[in-house]
Symmetry: D2
Subunit: 370 residues, 4 copies
């Protein structure tokens, strides 16, 4: 079993500007210039840990390429692609659509390199060069819809990868699991009427986008039943997420029998993340990944490709990703989560009834999958 790894330092050069957290600097409104919360630091440190821990030696490094226009247009409208390009060409950059998604000068090419990194992994899986893989990409993608960027996302990398798997490599059924703390609304919208792509999203309820990701969002037309959501209450942790994986995600995958599993590996549901209020630890990411790896082994020859999505804690993100990668490769490194002790007590919470209710509601919908 070989695990592929896509990374490029150009991903770190995607420029989100002198924003203060989420907002463009505006001194007159009292908004001091600062760094955008979606800056390169967490990802840079993640790549460095992968190297320093020794894990890099266990991975097959795959150089990304830029996704072509044909590949982008399988998912996005020409107007949206053109909009990103225009914003990217401007000296000071611009925004991908919702005012919260900075496009830096030159970010169009970087976004294409991010999408293309996933395409390279899909092809490597199809060719049998790797069994599974991880793309440490930037900018993220799961909020981007067919016709607009949003939530820091420019192009929907995973959706483009799913269509590539289907169109070029003949993988008929693709499942996309999204455990980013925020709703994978873009991915869901793109495949909403499509029964060949199952989307399952676990997120903090009503966080971002607002009023999105409720359980009743279950697909439409032929796609009915092929969109699943588990909107977990703020403050959910290890027990709730593992229960959701076991009651919803894995049963859904088992019913769907995908040819390929894609994972939107946002790690912003971790206990230190500034952008959500969940309480996952490296143990949670490890256990959830283990479940997915097992499902992939059982269902689709181990084919599992993860794309990096959110994750805004510069100091904790690296360990969360390392845990995911260790499970993908089936190895462990000499680096253990140094924060495990300090968060042990409060992340050991049992499953709470108000969390279980949400999970049960989602579990009832699994049987619609055929």
């Amino acid at each position: 079993m070989t695990t592929g790894y896509v990374f490029h330092h150009a991903y770190l050069w995607h420029d989100t500007g002198t924003s203060a957290g989420l907002l463009p600097a505006d001194p007159a409104a009292g908004i001091q210039p600062a760094v955008h919360i979606e800056n390169p630091e967490a990802k840079r440190r993640t790549h460095e840990l992968i190297h320093v821990s020794g894990l890099l030696r266990e991975l097959l490094v795959i150089e990304p390429r830029r996704a072509t226009m044909t590949e982008l247009l399988r998912v996005h409208t020409p107007a949206h692609v053109q909009h990103i390009r225009t914003q990217s060409d401007r000296r000071g950059g611009g925004d991908a659509g919702d005012g919260y998604s900075p496009v830096g000068h030159g970010s169009y090419d970087i976004a294409r390199l991010a999408a293309g990194g996933l395409l390279a992994l899909v092809t490597a899986v199809a060719d049998g060069d790797i069994t599974n893989g991880y793309a440490l990409t930037r900018p993220p993608g799961h909020h981007a819809t067919a016709d607009t960027g949003m939530g820091f996302c420019l192009l929907n990398n995973l959706a483009i990868a799913a269509r590539h798997a289907q169109t070029v490599h003949g993988m008929g059924r693709v499942a996309i699991v999204d455990w980013d703390a925020h709703h994978g609304n873009g991915t869901q919208a793109i495949f909403y009427p499509d029964p060949t792509v199952l989307t399952i999203s676990l997120q903090q309820a009503n966080c971002f986008p607002p009023d999105s990701g409720w359980t009743h969002e279950n697909g439409i037309a032929d796609g009915t039943g092929y969109a699943l959501n588990v909107p977990l209450p703020a403050g959910s942790g290890h027990a709730a997420y593992l229960h959701a994986m076991r009651q919803v995600v894995i049963p859904a995958l088992d019913r769907f029998r995908p040819d390929l599993i894609l994972l939107a590996n946002g790690v912003d549901a971790n206990v230190f993340d500034p952008m959500a209020r969940q309480m996952l630890t490296t143990s949670t990411y490890r256990a959830m990944t283990r479940l997915l790896v097992d499902a992939a082994d059982r269902l689709c020859h181990g084919r599992l490709i993860a794309a990096h999505e959110g994750g805004y804690s510069p100091f904790y993100t690296p360990y969360c990703v390392l845990a995911v990668l260790e499970e993908l490769t089936g190895t462990t490194t000499r680096v253990t989560d140094p924060f495990a002790t300090v968060v042990a007590a409060y992340t050991a919470e049992p499953l709470r009834p108000h969390q279980q209710d949400v999970i049960d509601e989602a579990a009832h919908l699994v049987s619609r999958i055929d």
Copy 2:
């Protein structure tokens, strides 16, 4: 009505080292050198916003002084004070006791200047120069006990201030309200057997320190009933905190009839804070401060002094503190919370039953205060 304001740039020079989040850098263990989460940035930006917003013109700036040994020893053991001093004298600094509380080279004097800033405010209140005041100090204090530092805290600034108010200024009864996301364990421990100082702490349950701040921690000996805790579940927000203020904090203050109210203004229960999982917004801090200001007006001639404690979001902390200060001064600036829109949906959660249970439990204890 005049509001005092203590700040000194030396507070920003307290050096927490090249730590990664909470942990000292240790490359061999995979811990990359970085910045400590308790670094100057959030406080620096807060002071800058106070200036740029124009609010500084409404405040009486009070220069801090260093707390004397006599003043420190009213609260701390000689051994602890000496320990801080010894660690501070070392070229590379050291730790205040628990391994999570960096003492920088020279931090002893800075910590004394932080404690002394609160003493200056207490004296100004006693002299009638100000009605209330805010000390934007660093390092924080509320976790420090009589004989050890912990949780980033070196000296318990507020406890030293309370004893100063009693000893020097003849204020018999002092109430300390602590809405930092973490338990004000140090302050509680210092006054646990003492019925002249009421401590009330609202925090995320079982967060930090672990297994501390439960409702049953209610004081001991003569102090029984004079320590109150509201250990709110992770994910609690505006509704829960306001309910706790109205059901526990304000009734307790009304029964206690303090001569002075001290506030441990940790703003790390805000919705973007990396160190806790609560969901407060500037509106919450504004409303909670309003309740305290009203109580102070009703009970003790408006005497209310706030010390800055936790608050780790560089971009959101400034607005939380500005809201507190606007309520203390009774003015508003031209700066409105620019993040209000983006968090409106998910911070509008109603009070949940599992939150209400905790609050009710604490409310039952209020009648023990005499």
Copy 3:
């Protein structure tokens, strides 16, 4: 004798973007997003040192105001002022004219507050509230000409101050000394034909702007003789600058008999500055300021106002400015230049012949002043 001090944290909010040194980020051209060399850090640290050293207590803090349109138009063309405003109104900001002068969103108001800081000092001197003063302003000004910004400068703060002194406060003759490492080309150009404003600039020869600041640039028409330049070779240090002060600057001031001396206090000729190749130390700035203070005492009742210009070393700039301020106030603080030892050897160079030649050439022109 009282020394005024102008500073506002809004100066630090002037946003020079994600530039790499001098250049806008451009990933496609291999230019990684980074910080602009003219970022707030050196000035922020300077202000903090002024506070922590205790010097702030010796200064009369004067709150800046925004320069009015009338005041700006005494120096700048309406088209230039409008250009800055338009660039500033754009969400992503723009440039002040030469492609090296970022205008952040909202920088127009900040630039007016910088110019207005100097106006406040001029008025305070005229009113006798202070004898001399220092404006720790940002953005800088001395490269800005009547009709364009350049070299990080938006508005020519000192030129606006000179005209204010003449027009409003009846000071007939104003001398502007500029020891920034780069040529004060903007100031020189504005007053080139004007014998009522003497400009004297010491700089690294041919550094910035290229081919500007030669000795033969000596004024025009009625202003002939009233512009002086000392284009010192790269590598010039303490001996060369002091010689230039004694042979050129002071004799020129003595002949000119100004009613007010303005100082463009760029400290980027210091030995650690990345933007020039000169070798000054705090001792040099101290000695040069001493000479100017003495001249001001002798010639114009001590009236001397310094504006902060360049200075890009975050760690050494603060000590250079502290030395200037200590001389202005006639006090010393407990802080001594901690870098003095490490640079002692190579900054002790004697005056070299090729440096002396340049100074002699400039000295010959002093007699043209009447």
Copy 4:
């Protein structure tokens, strides 16, 4: 022809602490905590540019190993190695000897990995896997002597490499060229009595260490004539350095007929470097490297190994190193020096007589080499 490239992200984890420029933070002395000038940023950005420019694809990436105790002791005393280890084991780190050379916690292993990176290159050259190579290492090495660290240097990486080449790979004569802006005093001292290792150092005269690197330092005993120095005056630029290369370095290499050329590629003589006052550009580094590559081709089958030494401009260092690497590989990338225009005028200075005198003096000593 193949060019080897050694880099490891662990190099970036060498922790120089919260120093202010060169000095440990000391708030009581007015020294604000900040970043050390020898921090990872310039090297990190250099590696990123090597990747993003596409040059990485032209290089043979060689994984470094840790130098063994035997290898270290060929150059250093046991006491010095033990000292570094002891300092490194301390939680807060320490210093390598002179008070200006921080040893971070864990830096001992990183320093061994830096030295070992060069050993890996030497072996790869000896094995014929590569013709030449570059080690982008950290911490630097050329100031470290046999028994002490100094000037940010812990272990003398190049000296260890030279001894390895001689002892293990039978390369009898090794030449070490050092164009770092500071004197390669450690390397010179280690080989001062040894005629089998020729050291040639070009530096800013009397800069660091003070009173070191004069022309008269020419070797001792059998080594007489085998140490050369060109102490160029501050402000020297392209013309002076190229003249020194042509009049001193290349003739010396031609007489010495080395089996291997090592290059101490400090790029801190560049025109933007804060730690020296020289004026080199990427064109200079390109031309100097070209001369060395040609000499290596002529003299020793192209065997040329460069170690990264100083270079403190975060924005300009990457382009200087890219120029060196392009010449080593004989290729060019799409990235051209974006700063070329802005420094064109003042870096075009002709050779000055006081520079030529120094070069001539050094050139006279070349004939002593046999």
